[in-house]
């Protein structure tokens, strides 16, 4: 039988190690949870934009019924809530410059929101392989100064 009390042997470094690992995991989990909570909290005054993906283009519908295909015009400083869905296969709606990324799934509406902080043109792209012309399923976001 192996003695648990070998001379010069101590268990405490292992317990410290285990404790540090658990503490770090808790920190990582809590921090990620908290940021997700903050980021997903949509402001009440956000304008809803319906985003529909289909092979191989993006359609956007504003609250007033205006539709855009392949391009999206937004105002700087306003909050926008995207309701993302798909007509055919799974796509993924991505505005890389604003870290906006949400899957577009048929029969499901996924929500993501953001508020543009700079004017300019920003690429919109599909981030989920969706068929032959996936590479060219792009659009452009135009952020303009408000009226």
């Amino acid at each position: 039988m192996v003695s648990g009390n070998m001379s010069g042997h101590s268990n405490w470094p292992e317990w410290v190690y285990v404790g540090v690992v658990i503490a770090l995991l808790c920190y990582v989990g809590a921090e990620a949870w908290n940021i997700e909570r903050i980021v997903e909290h949509v402001p009440a005054d956000a304008e809803i934009i319906k985003v529909t993906g289909q092979q191989w283009l993006w359609t956007f519908e504003h609250e007033d019924g205006t539709k855009e295909i392949g391009e999206l015009h937004l105002e700087k400083g306003k909050a926008y809530k995207f309701e993302v869905t798909s007509k055919d296969v799974i796509h993924s709606f991505n505005i890389h410059d604003y870290t906006v990324l949400m899957d577009a799934v048929p029969g499901r509406i996924n929500v993501v929101w953001f508020s543009p902080t700079e004017t300019g043109e920003f690429p919109i792209q599909c981030r989920e392989y969706c068929g032959l012309i996936h590479y060219n399923m792009r659009g452009t976001l135009y952020v303009e100064n408000g009226m």
Partner: protein
Amino acid sequence: MKVIFGLGLVLSLLIILPSVQYVLAAGDEPAEYLDRRIEIWGLFYRLMIVAFTVGTVVSGMIVWLVLRFRESNPKAKPTEYEADGKW
């Protein structure tokens, strides 16, 4: 001791942490306009610091163990089993 520790771990994973998350996500605070780039990339960099710190500590520990407990280390001394055959 180990039972209590394991129980605490299971409880915290199954009950305490989801409860905290539920409470925090209750939405009793007004949502603020925020720059998600700052939040998300900030989170990424903080977690990268954790990841690289862990990597440094673990690899440093392994290097130290290998050097300290090699047979050719002048400080090395045989264990009781190796010296006297005591088990």
